[in-house]
Symmetry: none
């Protein structure tokens, strides 16, 4: 598996333009009644026509058998070895609500929970209290002051929040407070490395003050903290690949991932139609566009096969709109499969196609899992997607004399 | 990707014989008028018949999307990880004209160029002066003497030459003098590591003396130096694989690459017919033969689709001649694709076939890109070719007990 900086000397600046369309959760599995996957079931004439003049294949997000989260799934497509560049849960949660994590900041994912009179957990999710009740509690916690560190608490949704610590000498190497079972007490935070003692002390002080503040609450009378993490420092895509990359994504998490990779995030609306409008309006300003289509993954996660088919069909008419911009390279990829029959992210190789003026004669009849397996590109690690896009766009020189 | 020494304990000496036929630039892309590649277009009954009783597949020279030069393309086929074992431009240029590079020697690729009265570049290639004019100039430069180092200048072709430095404590880690643009002065050489200061000083002294010698020339009144490189030291193929390997190649560059890999180079003639005669005459003397077919690559680089088809057709009748020697394993491979429509080396996976008495029943109908994608070997890194040849020849023992 290649990592982003390995071929640094081969990348070269040209005016050609690349579009990477990431269809979240693109791949699927056969419906038991029909033996056909979501892509095989969907009526997608434009994706199929494009596959007939494209080089197609399958991408493996991390390694065979490994189902990735959104973080590694996207980082791999951007060219970063996802085993080497990992984003911790707290940092990803912060990205998901666009909370800025500066270098040195530590973020944790927080849950409100319910404890009994002895401090023993009775509900790890505080009865899934709604945001309208939890957000004011977050505001109260946000006012906690601890000398030597800036403490901020941000509401996410329902019982979930993000804790951000900002200050000198913080470390992500501390243990979690969530005992993962009811009937136990929240755990004290311990340092996993000597230099994390200060962070552990600060977090324990925060939990102590928070427990007092929450003690009168009916359901959210305690909190649990998990996934302490700092933001990884990645070599910026633009610098490594000599691109001026832009990201267009309706969901904050994907804007955040693009930011971590060093892309410029262009503000856009809530729908994919808005995203395509944004792409069109900014076409002259960048030479690489990452554009994100979310609905297929959401339907897959819901386990709704028909809804996922419908989401793929709704994406299809946008393909000619993107092609009308005449990108030198258009790639259609997925960060991972989300088979509706699993209602979860999966490890399966994901259909991939790359269209350029060099891919004539390499096509396959339809864009789906089975046809892509016979495509000209074959089965590749997802980390090779960027290299293929750059080479087809004439942005790579020969390796070695 | 495997590297040459990784399975060292598995290789075993046997009398069986392996032929690795490297068809330079073998792979191609579809002609826009027909949708068929060079291999699909060519009438090659012998290659096709062989594919029907061979195990076939596709090889990726370096990584998906990466177009290799001749150096990495061949080293990979010989089993050396091309990302780990890199040959610098100066060293490859020296190999190309069979200039010996001993350990410690530093070579650079030189260009004659034209400068104006202020020393500013007006032509980076000195009007592409012909060899008959540039060779005598090389002879004059060759007589430059600098204390502490032996300086040799070898004519390559037209405006190109090789500078070789021989002496104690030389380093390849120095900058180039070519500013890559006209209107600028040639750059002074600087050390990239502290230990390269001596080399930088020596090269700057050479350039100073050369500039004086050349000042009266009309076109070649200055020179540029690029790609300072020492020859990499590779574990010799013969020792690692327990072979007595021989190379037969009409072009010096490929004889040089074989030498770097530790093969014995057998003198041969200018044509592939000469090479096959040489193979026949030396059949009893070695157990591994690398034999190189150049014309397909040259036609591809010229962008001449029909010529490349013809070159493949001209290779075809030699297949029965090689088979008549009854090699235990015959492999037909390419160092990279050279699609005529690109007129350049490319990154595309390259057709590969391996014939042995074990491959009956694994065949495909024809030897081309699409058929090989469905072959028994699948898609593999080019660095696995040697291991496959050795195992099919009974020269590998089990890995692990």
């Amino acid at each position: 598996m290649i990592d982003v900086e390995e071929l640094r000397d081969c990348y070269t600046k040209t005016p050609s333009k690349i579009v990477l369309l990431v269809v979240d959760g693109l791949g699927g599995l056969a419906h038991p009644d029909t033996g056909r996957s979501e892509l095989e079931t969907a009526n997608t004439p434009n994706l199929d026509a494009l596959a007939q003049v494209s080089a197609c294949g399958l991408t493996t997000p991390v390694l065979p058998g490994v189902a990735p989260g959104s973080g590694p799934g996207h980082l791999a497509l951007f060219g970063y070895d996802p085993l080497k560049h990992q984003i911790g849960r707290g940092a990803l949660e912060a990205l998901g609500i666009e909370v800025e994590l500066a270098p040195g900041d530590v973020a944790a994912r927080g849950n409100f929970c319910t404890v009994d009179g002895d401090g023993l957990l009775t509900d790890r999710r505080a009865g899934r209290i709604p945001t309208k009740l939890s957000a004011p509690i977050c505001d109260r916690l946000d006012r906690i002051e601890i000398p030597g560190v800036q403490v901020d608490v941000f509401s996410v949704q329902d019982y979930r929040f993000v804790l951000r610590l900002r200050g000198e000498g913080l470390s992500e190497f501390v243990t979690e407070t969530d005992p993962q079972v009811t009937g136990a007490k929240a755990l004290a935070v311990k340092p996993l490395k000597p230099e994390a003692q200060k962070t552990a002390d600060l977090v324990n002080e925060f939990v102590k003050q928070a427990a007092q503040l929450l003690s009168e609450e009916e359901r959210a009378n305690m909190l649990l903290l998990r996934g302490f993490a700092q933001m990884p420092s990645l070599p910026p895509m633009g610098e490594v690949y000599r691109l001026d990359p832009a990201a267009i994504a309706a969901y904050p998490m994907y804007r955040g991932l693009a930011t971590v990779a060093g892309m410029n995030v262009i503000p856009t609306g809530k729908t994919f139609a808005d995203e395509v409008d944004t792409l069109r309006a900014n076409w002259d300003k960048h030479d690489f566009f990452f554009i994100h289509y979310k609905p297929a993954d959401a339907a897959g996660e819901d386990g709704d096969f028909d809804a996922k088919v419908r989401c793929l069909e709704e994406l299809d008419p946008f393909i000619p709109e993107i092609l009308a911009l005449e990108p030198d390279v258009l790639m259609v990829a997925g960060d991972h499969a989300t088979p509706a029959i699993m209602a979860a992210h999966s490890w399966h190789p994901v259909p991939f196609m790359l269209h350029s003026k060099l891919t004539l004669g390499q096509g396959i009849p339809t864009f789906d899992e089975k046809a892509c397996a016979l495509g000209a590109i074959g089965s590749i690690p997802a980390t090779s997607v960027m290299v293929l896009g750059l080479s087809h766009a004439g942005k790579m020189t020969k390796f070695g004399p």
